[in-house]
Symmetry: D3
Amino acid sequence: MGKIVTLGEMMLRLSPLGYDRFSQAKQFNAYYGGSEANVSVSLANFGKETSYITKLPANDIAQCAINELRKYGVDTKDIVRGGERIGIYYSEYGESQRPTKFVFDRKGSSMAEAKREDFDWDKIFEGAEWFHCSGITPALSEECTKITFDAVKAAKEKGLTISIDLNFRETLWDKASFSKTIRELLPYCDVALGSIEEAQMALGEKEDEKADCKEILKKFVEKFEMKYATIILRNRFTAENVDWTAVLYDGQTFYNAKKYDIHVIDNIGGGDAFAASLIYAITSGYSTQDIIEFATAGSCLKYSMMGDANLSTVAEVESLMYGDATGKEKR
Amino acid sequence: MGKIVTLGEMMLRLSPLGYDRFSQAKQFNAYYGGSEANVSVSLANFGKETSYITKLPANDIAQCAINELRKYGVDTKDIVRGGERIGIYYSEYGESQRPTKFVFDRKGSSMAEAKREDFDWDKIFEGAEWFHCSGITPALSEECTKITFDAVKAAKEKGLTISIDLNFRETLWDKASFSKTIRELLPYCDVALGSIEEAQMALGEKEDEKADCKEILKKFVEKFEMKYATIILRNRFTAENVDWTAVLYDGQTFYNAKKYDIHVIDNIGGGDAFAASLIYAITSGYSTQDIIEFATAGSCLKYSMMGDANLSTVAEVESLMYGDATGKEKR
Amino acid sequence: MGKIVTLGEMMLRLSPLGYDRFSQAKQFNAYYGGSEANVSVSLANFGKETSYITKLPANDIAQCAINELRKYGVDTKDIVRGGERIGIYYSEYGESQRPTKFVFDRKGSSMAEAKREDFDWDKIFEGAEWFHCSGITPALSEECTKITFDAVKAAKEKGLTISIDLNFRETLWDKASFSKTIRELLPYCDVALGSIEEAQMALGEKEDEKADCKEILKKFVEKFEMKYATIILRNRFTAENVDWTAVLYDGQTFYNAKKYDIHVIDNIGGGDAFAASLIYAITSGYSTQDIIEFATAGSCLKYSMMGDANLSTVAEVESLMYGDATGKEKR
Amino acid sequence: MGKIVTLGEMMLRLSPLGYDRFSQAKQFNAYYGGSEANVSVSLANFGKETSYITKLPANDIAQCAINELRKYGVDTKDIVRGGERIGIYYSEYGESQRPTKFVFDRKGSSMAEAKREDFDWDKIFEGAEWFHCSGITPALSEECTKITFDAVKAAKEKGLTISIDLNFRETLWDKASFSKTIRELLPYCDVALGSIEEAQMALGEKEDEKADCKEILKKFVEKFEMKYATIILRNRFTAENVDWTAVLYDGQTFYNAKKYDIHVIDNIGGGDAFAASLIYAITSGYSTQDIIEFATAGSCLKYSMMGDANLSTVAEVESLMYGDATGKEKR
Amino acid sequence: MGKIVTLGEMMLRLSPLGYDRFSQAKQFNAYYGGSEANVSVSLANFGKETSYITKLPANDIAQCAINELRKYGVDTKDIVRGGERIGIYYSEYGESQRPTKFVFDRKGSSMAEAKREDFDWDKIFEGAEWFHCSGITPALSEECTKITFDAVKAAKEKGLTISIDLNFRETLWDKASFSKTIRELLPYCDVALGSIEEAQMALGEKEDEKADCKEILKKFVEKFEMKYATIILRNRFTAENVDWTAVLYDGQTFYNAKKYDIHVIDNIGGGDAFAASLIYAITSGYSTQDIIEFATAGSCLKYSMMGDANLSTVAEVESLMYGDATGKEKR
Amino acid sequence: MGKIVTLGEMMLRLSPLGYDRFSQAKQFNAYYGGSEANVSVSLANFGKETSYITKLPANDIAQCAINELRKYGVDTKDIVRGGERIGIYYSEYGESQRPTKFVFDRKGSSMAEAKREDFDWDKIFEGAEWFHCSGITPALSEECTKITFDAVKAAKEKGLTISIDLNFRETLWDKASFSKTIRELLPYCDVALGSIEEAQMALGEKEDEKADCKEILKKFVEKFEMKYATIILRNRFTAENVDWTAVLYDGQTFYNAKKYDIHVIDNIGGGDAFAASLIYAITSGYSTQDIIEFATAGSCLKYSMMGDANLSTVAEVESLMYGDATGKEKR
């Protein structure tokens, strides 16, 4: 079985400890992540061979990011080194009625300033079977848009399966630009995931959280000729209480996953965990119903962990997915 | 717009880390607060000019308390230095059925031993528009009772608006003394806040948590000729689960605030946050309904923060007050 | 009043900080506990004289375990020193749908390798009134089975009351061995506690969580001629949400305790806290209804504390048991 | 062999973490100690039976102090509970040219307010062989002076050996008061320790760090009819560099100890460690030269440990005293 | 006496805890500093009125930097808010033969992108008596060079005393640019400080650490018509061992300070502490010899503190300067 | 260039934080290391391809050890999973006259219980150029002795260069067994390192720290027909002060390295860092003098770092080796 390649930007996340607000922080927890890097870490934890592609500066802080990937078994040998800086975002944990707060400082990062010629897709895709990207990378710069298209085209040519997490980021670009670009990207893709609103933007419709999920999925799969499209359904009650489920459409049938009431420990990376679990389940030959159950259960578990990436094993996800979700320990 | 002056005692709070009980603590978190100091810090975070009045010893630990106020922009230049010590209280976080636990060690503090002549109210009230005090300061000593009356009388004379947080503290004095003193203080005040039981004590009635809130408010406003009186309604289910709302009466109409189901991170300073939000909303020209909504939302947010003071901004309170309270982050 | 002697194995627990998974841990919190040691610590916190019996190596780490017992006032002078090592278990806190995870490393511990001649029961039981053991110790080794029987026989002979926590541990032995051994131990015992399944195993029946609790209790008391038998009823919803109650049968009447909805801070030691509270209440002359209420309330409080042992005082348990369980603080 | 009783005041020490100054501290390390309590803890670590006498309030913080003593095996059953508070001192670690800084807040402590009738010396001295006190206790209050005299008189009567650490504390009283009181106490004592200046004050001479140590020792032993008197010689170069040695005089011969160049980790409790090591060596039948070597080596080791008390074992002290002081580990 | 205004860039410093290398860091300590901000903080700790001028983004992280200044009493009301980001530098503590390591990420900061029109020097210098700047600000951008000249010219015009810390930063510009710019700035300045090499660069000479300090000082004062010029002399032996002294020349006499052997806790901000102490001593009317002693002793103390700024009080510096530098505590 | 294979046992090290003694530890720092694993980590940090061979249990804690290796780029794919446990050692940092203290708990570890058939040396040595082992592995068990001989024989056969760190461990076996085994191993080896005493034991002589280093080296190289043998010379003054140098003999000439006065941060892994630096320098074509300089400088740097492994880069070692060892930073 071939390896799964992901492409994206990796950042340093700085978060005050515990429930401290920024102004109370004497220390920051340092996490290294990024939507697609998180997918690779989760896939590696599931035992898959995976390689992450990005550009990072040749300094010690970027090396920490790479070390974090290696620690979990992600292949980092094709990461390009150079440029000025690793992007940063600061995030303060929310709780109860107080929302998670973000301060972004990612401008001028090595990846945002990367050039098309930095990446040798032939070499990168050697031995690969799957390519995963997201709507974040094309938003980083015009050149990054081109890099993303280079990647999907090369992947297509080599016969890889291509998945995309729609991932609209309002701090990076406007909805119109997202909509235009994503619509050009999707025809290269086989598998997609996102929220209702993101799917609507991709379809060129006005986004509406209350819209009918299945109708949108259907339009989406038909328009972009997807093999599988999934929509994640999340209701947020307070900063730490959400419910979480998803629907998958394979062009013929709708598959609904169980719904989980989640107590959130760290609300970053839920979608990435979903993407990784989805890719794992598809590439491991699960039944279609089990694909969406595994994706939902795997990402549900992410919310109970600190940091950006899902550190679950397959056994843990299956135990939740086939079990009773009550967290009973063994001793 | 003039500044808002508050008067009170500031203490060092020592709390074991996380959920540790006192006997498990190897370290204590150090917080510096006090009911009225917390009001000033919150007002400063709302962008108001505010000055805090107290007496603190001339040592490094008291300097830490002052630094904490300065950090958030509170004017500390009128704080009197001298006396023996800063009061201390130890508090252990409760959780589930285990209540928060307090050990008080505030006797002999500089403020408790302060003298009337320590405070020059003419100088203190220069440029002031509002004076806020609470039922704690008169409880510290007979001299502190006099200091409180000196302050409200001077404030009255200078035409300041005066607010009071009833704040009965059973470890400092008995209900009869509280009742007697507070009843003499209230005629100087324009705005008051407290619980049903405190309002009843002020009215000289037997306290009863189940009493009709509006009836008491009405009596209260009439008896003490208040501009606004508010009663905070809190139901506590476990150490970390409370609900929280308030009613305001302006002598004509009752205004009910939204009710919040709160997951408590730190249950100290909710009333102080309410007082600060109330004063902010009144001095900023909000509608009467919005005054009580702002006060309730602002204090609701306090419960999600560590430490004694509300660190919310006006934008954060308004986002909760006009929004959906689900803590959705932006990125 | 005589002292309460407990016998068991004490271990070092290593837990990642906060919600970190093992692979994220840079530090481990170190707790020293063991089912019966936890009983002694809780009894000492209730003001009872108590002595703990075990074998621990003559090294600094085992000394830490002993220091932890002494800190809370447990008599440790009869602990035997020698052998190779203190057993270890690693535990990772679960949350939401992610269960608590254990890695055991207790093989070859000083207690597991202890010999019958290590313990001088005549000396140990001097001045004792009560002996408490559990189903864990006989599971450690064949010799430990004999040690347990030596202890209960000596205790019986000296007229001590004997209590037992059934405590089946699936990582130590199989159900058949447990069933056989426990059935031989129970005739020596006056008081027993356990889950429905454990009671069924003791009775030689097929375990079934949904079985009728009272029916089993009745059979249990009759078969083993118990003074009191109690069954703990716990429903687990997620890793941190459980409900908790218990039933006591004295051969004549069933006594039901209040049920508590618990937010779990640390889910280790709930049963041990129950045992200690039960022993305390019986030896302190509470009414039978109050015995089961005290046992349930005392163990409910344990879940709100870090570490293996219940650090509650009698006043705290009574406040919950007679009060309203809403965790209201005093100040 | 009988137990060693010590009498004194126990305090909570609050120290910023690491090299933080007070104004940078978000947490304080909590240590519980006191000159004579430290002596008892060290004696218990040396395997001696020892009991500590003081008065502490009946609250959770004082309980922590007692727990700390119990943890190391000190008998605490004769500690009187009552009064208002446990005294506090804040200390900031110095380094290089920046000195350790203290803020004292011990006024009104339970011990300072204790009454003579709080202590039943007959009961306290049951089974005792040695009584140790210091010049701090009589400085706490006039009543505490009387309590100290009650203790030494009762000890004398019962034939106990009495040791005293001169321990002049300039923040508690002036030199004249110290001088007068200590001169009246010393005739009851058999063993004394202190600095050159303290010995001079005791002799009623002008203190002078450069005075001839042996001359003073000789005068001291003759005047107060001591069995052993020792003077600790310490040169301080920076906050963390000191050298440390001592001289003992038994009325006939001067015994000089080895000198140690110490890198100080925590400079509190060096003298207390010396007192404990001295008492241990005398009561264990060491040769006179070894008594002073053990006392000096034992206290040297204290400087390498955090907290107020020496946690060394006899084996560790002997290894230093007979060895080469290079800290070579075994593995 | 008027206030002391400083101008510069403030950054977030992220340092691994303790001796961890970057790759071992799970947390970073967050310090907010900058050469001239550190001068203001130190001056405020000395009791001087001081105002800091910079441009910082309107986000929460920049607010933390401002809060840090306010905490110590620095006037921050003239800080301009806007732009993209606060600059960052990562620093790893060195020890023994391992040097302190820096990773800079300051490009695109609000100050580096500031415009001349951001600063209203008339308003800024109201009530000021002294202006302090350094060689770092003109290195940030061409516009920042102009801003620095605007400031010194305005200061000159208003009759302020002007001091400059030469502060060559090799990561910001080359020696030729530094040399050219600093030579044009110096004629506006009254007081200067720097190393021998920096003074040589300013004089247009080839830098040489072994050059004759006095000769260079003489040339420097004559060429730039300085009132006082000082050269700091530092020998570095390992990462934590340095010696530290300075020479001052007032155009007539050379004044040598005592030399200190320093154990370095944090080697950032020594020069800034020197500048602040120098300004304090000059503006407080010390004798010329005492000016250089105070500057040297004040900065010596900085090395014993964590963070970028000197938190010493005047009493602490004088105690070292007039005392024996052995760090003896009082208790 | 081929990869460097190392074989050994990896353990979990648990160390109290800072200067805490075991009895004060509430947390332990967790480090994962082992003599030969440390060699691999250091080699990976130097940019060499390296693979580590051991047996570890199939549990989460062992996975942490593997993750630590992967983090730094060590190839872990040939690590055998199985057996009962990962060995543990507890170590308490010494300081001043207090030595580092160890408690070992490694019995029954997966590696100690490993079987010869667990390792497929043909597969392991594919693409390898160098094999490194130490005197620890054969000490673990008789089977481990055989495994070590299997490894060196296979390596010899395949033409790999073989290096050995003599590494006598007195807690694992006696000197006679070490001597006998090591003497049989050495003929297979090309490069050796150790202390004078270890070399003497290998030669079958009585060990003597003061013996003539060169004489022993000469005998050693001649007897075992070594290409290079090196002796590390370390003087230990206190727990944190050592000096450190080494001599290399290539059968013709003695090469002496610079001597370093080291302030020790963590004294574990110095020899392993030496071995890694030695192997790096030899395989990178350094001159013989530079080989011993690089080995000494590389290992000197290790002492300034927390944890078991040297995290230095080649640039850092060269900077020390060719530079002035004063730790001057760049900024």
